[in-house]
Symmetry: D3
Subunit: 214 residues, 6 copies
């Protein structure tokens, strides 16, 4: 029993890779996904705050930081499995909660148990902070799938993930931070361009030409 | 729809790594695990046959080769989750079967569907072939955990896996092939030794000495 | 001496990577190649059987499972080297057989030696099972090279491998299973399409538009 | 210009590996290090709060989350270089600040610039939150080096890193959370034990014996 | 103290990866970069020699082989940092020299110190050999960036590196070996072509057709 | 045809890993092996020169740099195969030479062919430079195997490689540079020590104690 096991478990999250069983050009661990989601949530919260909303920052950071900690116990189970049936989804959530509760009761001294049970709870509720988390989680997923599509991964799954992520984000389209994302960030992402080999030849020839004329 | 998707899916099994979320010195994919289990089952079947048992080789190979194909749909879910409760285990199996059935119906032309539904069924039944598969699966797991322990992986999980694998093998101790494993193979595995750095110095000095005297 | 060394050697096949010395997006080990070839052979055998041929399944599985085991002793030597001259090819085969024989005699107890010498022999003979193996081996190679071409690997070698694999498959065009592959599976593989970034923009805009109108 | 570049840069932190140029059994990226430091800071802050201190949680999370963001511009430069001379250290910090300022001014719209300049500033000041960050950063470094020592990495550097991390933590020994770490967590970490191969033999024999007597 | 530490340090150069913090399809270590630069310098020197120049081969090899050894102490610091200001560049060089000097004095016996201080000095001076090194270093960098562009790495940095490398090479356009590179090698590199999937279909159909007609 | 293909081939040497088919903690490519051998040869040549020998440095560097280039065509074939029989060894060398000759004639313009045929020839002849290369090649192999033994790789092969490398070095024991290696470098390598976890506890306790007393 002890906090040492909790600290050590953080490193296990570096060894759980997202979306197992598909060829990817770039792998992402649950640990670095959690980092990126928290950073994105920080930005989204800032937009909301500038718009006049009151953000409970402590709550927002707690939700974002811990939102996938339970994958320590279950791994990154493929989404279609998790949600294959309503009954399975319900049962699956129960199991996750049960395993988390057991871990907290086994590893945390009594004085910390209530706090950490709260921290490890499902964070995507109807509060402003829960909604920001839901959006931030999908924005990182959208970036992950965009990264594969952009590198020309032929696997159609990444297109499905992109669409699924975007459609979830759109569910929150009434939020100022989602409007900001749709108006300012997403178009910039889509405008990213590629270097074609034909350009390479043109650039090279221009550079050699210019060098000659100096 | 089509067999092409089935052939392509075999390569996805190369990207599902066993026992996610733990530091390992050597990773093993579901594809290469399946290969090793089939080779081990081949040996165990040979022992049984030499002992006078009738082995249905076609059945044995089918069981061994396909025994983890359903992980394509579910990933390598952590065992404690899978078996966290009897209810979950039952439901989980139902989901796996359901997803496999859907895949077969979607990807296989009608004339192949019945054959492949049979091949992808849980293979560990009470037949001789089902029991050989159960043992072969655990022997490979035992080798995987032994490989980590031998490389001095400090994670206690691998000791637990070793013990769990061995205790399952022992459930089949009435089988000739299990006796052969316990009497002939396991002791040899445990006798494996290490080179100590102190030996290195001794060997080096002896070799230099011998070279001097030539 | 002992079966333990044989079991342990299976894991070495996970560390021999096919086609060394070329940049690949996805590596394939001899272990997982053997798994895939056996699965493909299983399908091809099924097609032959449905066509009325008698398949010796035990033999087919033995051939497929063990067809590259001798690479344990030689590694995956580049094909052009192996076949640089008829004399070398002959000598090379002799060496492989000799090393396999020595391994079997050293590691296998006498009662298993004859069986395993048979299993480790070159399997691509003129039997139906030997011909299925020859085709299955090349189909997996074709998929490996297609995977690189599809991911836009600029190395022309993969085009050469694709052509070499296809032309070998075509040598067996009188087989029903090869006709099935050419008529049903290969066209489906070639129809695989890519997501272009331009589509991404169109899809995104459509989804946002639809969301607005809800 | 745009937030898209900021979001995309988060993924670059997944590609900067800590402590380059030394063999490690387990690599750690700046992204996952940042995640772990934030989680550890959360625990340390909880200990302080339970002890009656007032923790500015928003500030603590901001400091922890962003403390290594500037490595995006400089990479993980080897510590001895960074601090080779006081003059270099001063200059190096200036350069880091300058590059961060330029990035913020180039990529962030004006309304966010002040906020992010604050967030990306060096966080290890004399506030309670700055001190917690300093400790959390070194606790993760101590775990990273312990992980290598425990896996028997022969490189003496990891012992030096362990000692350097511990001696920095000890500078903060007046803090309650550091006392908690020294009294409750560190001893537990050091008590971690290894499985020896000799034990393996004993355990195996006991299990087989027990199985026989059933 | 001792040459053993020098020999061992060579392996650390295998663990320093060039251009950290960016997604790359193919990583290159400082060790293999040094190998390639030396091989390229050998070719460039050969061209110069055939043109009638006198090449001090010993000096050329020493310069090429050792030109990045100091990265052992500093890592592969991002170029923009290194040259963020003239003052920093000067200081950075001083630090590198100082650390190299300390290493030589600590690890090399006195009789070797002067020789190795000479060998580890910045080699890109105005001698023919220094200029060949400058060109060879950039040719390898150009190949590294071309490799990423050719594999369709969407990161614009590689285009910048390509241009920076080429513009440095063009500074030496008065050298015969640079003319050879620009006239004979670079155009060949740019002519490299890709296999399009559409071609694949055409080739496949042609091969099947030809096989039919045999 | 062209030097571009020669330059590009250098990068293929980064993808040929030495000693395929065995678990290793640290992989080494032919490219970085070649770099290290050249650096070691540089040192050994320096020792010989200081002893009064005349070293043909150009020749030494050419031999060391190019000594494994032919592995581009053959891969790193397992040594036992290569030397399974005298006849095979002879044939194998012939094939290597033939393939190298063909490559040079295909890729190098006529004016460079003779030079490069010379450079790619087997370099381990009876000249001082050929003997230095033979020793340097084995010293790097000895370091590679020592690295695995030191990290406690349980595979006995590495002990065999260590012994084979050392016994070859001892064949050249009449050379001053080999004496230097045996007297000054090897003992230092063998004196390398490990940090034991028990020490870690002692060091930690001492540091905490000292911190208390300040």
């Amino acid at each position: 029993m002890g906090i040492h096991h909790y600290f050590k478990s953080l490193s296990d999250l570096e060894k759980i890779y997202r979306c197992p069983g598909k060829f990817k050009f770039q792998e992402h661990s649950v640990a670095s996904h959690s980092f990126k989601v928290t950073k994105i949530a920080q930005f989204l919260g800032t937009v909301e705050e500038m718009d006049g909303q009151t953000v409970d920052w402590r709550l927002l950071y707690e939700k974002a930081l811990n939102h996938d900690y339970a994958e320590l116990f279950t791994g990154d189970i493929k989404t279609p499995v998790k949600y294959a049936s309503k009954e399975l989804k319900r049962l699956f959530n129960e199991v996750e909660e049960e395993m988390t509760r057991k871990f907290v009761e086994k590893e945390f001294p009594p004085e910390f148990q209530k706090i950490y049970l709260g921290r490890f709870k499902e964070g995507k509720d109807d509060t402003l902070e829960g909604r920001i988390l839901a959006v931030a989680d999908k924005i990182d997923l959208l970036y992950e799938s965009f990264g594969e599509i952009q590198k020309e991964n032929p696997e159609p799954l990444f297109m499905e993930i992109y669409e699924e992520a975007l459609s979830t984000i759109l569910l929150f389209k009434d939020m100022t931070c989602v409007q900001y994302f749709l108006d300012e960030i997403l178009p910039e992402m889509l405008r990213e361009r590629f270097i074609e080999q034909s350009e390479l030849t043109a650039i090279t020839e221009r550079m050699i030409e210019e060098s000659r004329n100096q």
